[in-house]
Amino acid sequence: MAAIEMKNIVKKYGDGFPAVNDVSIDVEDGEFLILVGPSGCGKSTLLRMIVGLEDITDGDMMIGGKKVNDLAPRDRNLSMVFQNYALYPHLTVYENIAFPLRLANKPESEVDEKVREASKTLELDEHLERKPGNLSGGQRQRVAMGRAIVRDAEAFLFDEPLSNLDAKLRGQMRTEISRLQKRLGITTVYVTHDQTEAMTLGDRVAVLKRGVLQQHATPRELYENPANLFVAGFIGSPPMNFLPAKVTGNQVELPFGTLTIPEDKAAKAQDKGLLIAGIRPDHFEDASVMDADKVTDEATFNATVDVVEWLGNEAYAYIPFEAPPEVREQLTQLEKDLDGESMRTQLVISLDGASRISEGDDATIWVDARKIHLFDPATGENLTMDADNAGIVPGVEALAKAEEVGKEQDAVDPNAATT
C-alpha cells in the first residue's frame, strides 16, 4: 500500500490535444479517491497515467514516495479494473484470477491459496471452473475485482467499473466495492462520471473539467461548498437551481421575489451587479407542510407550479422562469459542459411527500436562505464559498482555464469526447 502523489501532471497527445492540464492531487495511503467529471474531462487519462498505460507529458507521478514516470505498468505494482472488465476469455475464472500470480512465478500452493481466498471474498467459489463468456455481468465484474485483489498491489485503480451494469446491480456492486476497500484498507483511485458513485464511495472527490482540476474535497464539502458553478451543477441530483439574482444589502432579488440572506453571505456579494444564485432543490419546501413558526415572509414566495412528479417520500415540482440573456448564456454553456441539453430555465424543487401541491396550483414555497450560494456570472466563482470547508480549490482561475483549454481542445479535434 502506498500514497499516490500527482504533481502538476500534464498530458498532451501527439496531435497537440491537451487532455490533462497541470493537475496536482494527493491520495493518502488507504484513501478512496474519486476522479469525477463529464466525458472528455481527462479523468480516465489521468488514471491511465497513474497505472502507466499513458505516457506523462510533464509533471511527477509519485507512488509510495518513488517517482514512477518512466516505469512500465508491470513495475508499478498497481492493479486495475477496466470498464469492460478485460477478462481473458480463453482462461477459466480460476486462471483469470491466478494470472498475475502466475506471471510473478509464485509457487502453486501459494497461487491456489490466494485464488481461493479471493474467490471466497467475492463469492465466486462455484464459478471457478467456468469461462468468463458464461458469466453474467455482475459475475464478470467480480472476477475482474478478484484479479485485482489477488496480489498485494500498492493501490487499486477502477475505470468506470459499474457503467456496464444495470441500475440494481450497480447499487449492489457499489456497496460491495465500498465494503471491500474498507476491509482491505488499500489506496484506491476510482474514475466515474456518475455523481452518485462519487458521493457515496469516496473519502475525497476530485472534480475535473476539460483536464483542469476544479475542486478536491470530501463529498460533503463539495455538496455544501462548491467552488464554482461547474462543481455546483455537477454534484447533486437533481442538480442545483441557478437563478438570476441582485443583491442589495442583505436582500436578494430573485425572479419570484425577494429573500433575506445572512449578513456574511451578503457582504461577500455586495456591488457585483447581476449574479447567479444557486439553491439546491431540497432547500425548498412547501410552506403548508412546515411548522408555522419557521415560515416567515422574508423566506417565502408564491409561484405557479407547472409540473409535479410525486415519488412517495418526496415530490419534485417544476416552476419555469425567465432569465436575462447574460445569465441564460452562462447557464446554457454550463448545461453543455455537464453533458446536458440546454432546456427551458426552470426551478426544480423537492417537496415533502406529504405536500398536496398539484399542477397549476399557486403555491407558497419556503426557501432555506442560509443555504443559498451566489456565483459571479463572468468567472463562475462561488462568492459565498466557505473556504475553510471547501477542501482544496485550485483558485478562481480554474474555471476560466478550463474554458481556455476547451477552446484549445476544440481547435485540435472538434469531435473529441474521449474520457
Binding site: 497505472v51 502507466g52 498505460l53 512500465a72 505498468p73 508491470r74 505494482n77 498497481l78 492493479s79 486495475m80 477496466f82 469492460n84 472488465y85 478485460a86 477478462l87 481473458y88 476469455p89 480463453h90 494470472f99 498475475p100 506471471l103 510473478a104 469461462k131 468468463p132 463468456g133 458464461n134 458469466l135 453474467s136 455481468g137 464478470r140 484479479r147 496480489r151 456496464n164
Partner: protein, 280 residues
Amino acid sequence: MAGKQTGKTAVGTWIGFVLIMLWCLFPVAWIISLSFKSEGETAAGSPQFLPKEPTIANYKAIIDNPDFTRALLNSFGISLIATVLSVIFATLAAYAIARLEFKGKRLVLSLALAIAMFPVVALVGPLFDMWTTFGLFNTWPGLIIPYMSFTLPLAIWTLSAFFREIPWEMEQAAQVDGATSWQAFRKVIVPLAAPGVFTAAILTFFFAWNEFVLAISLTSTTSSRTVPAQMSFFVGPDPFNPPYAQLATASVIVTLPVIVIVLLFQRKIVAGLTSGAVKG
C-alpha cells in the same frame, strides 16, 4: 412463421444442397471408384461408375513404390515447415501491423498484397536461375522459401484482421497484471487469435501441399519432389495410355491428409472465442 412455409423452404434447401453436393463431390467419388478398378478395367474404356471387380492392388502398388513414398515425405516435410515458419512470421508481422504505429505501414500491406497477386509462373524462370546459382535447386529450402513468400501476404492479412478484433484492453490488463509485452503477446493475444492462426495455417498448408508449378520446375530428383510433381511422372509404358487407376489412387492418398488436417483444425477454429472478454 407457418409450418408449411418452413417445410417448403426446407425441401427447397435440401434439393439445392444435394445438387451442389453432387456437382462438387461427383468427381471425387469418381476418383475413389477409379482407384479400386483394375488396370485392365480402366484400359477397356468401360465408363461404368462402380468397379466390376473391386481391388486394392493399386493401393498396394503405390505404397510399395519408393518414389511415391519419398514424394509423400517431401510433401509433408516441405508443407509443414513452410506452414510453421509462415505462421510464425505472419503472426509477428500482423501483430506489428495491427498494434504499432510506424512509417511505411501501408506500404508493407500494399506490398504484401502485390506479392500475393503476382503470378507464380512468372517467377519460375528467375527462381530457377537464382536457385541453381545459390545451390538451392532441388532442395527442401528451395521450395519452402517461395511457398512462404507466396502464403505470407494472405496469412498477414488474415491475422492482422483477427488481431484488430482483440480489444486493446486485454493486452493492457495483462501488462498491469505484471506481464512484459512479450508475455502479454504470448499468453493473451496469441491464444485469442488462435482461430486466425489456424485459418492462416490451413491456407498455407493447402497452398504448399497442392502447389505444382514450382514443385516441378525447381526439383530434378525424388530427393525433394513433392507428390503433385511426382504424379506427373506416373506415365507407364504407353505415353498415350497413362495408368489412370494408379493416378486416381495417388490422388486419393494425397487428399486424405488434407481432409484429416481440416477436420483437426476445424475444432480449433471455434467461432466467437473472444466473446466474454468484455461486457456482455
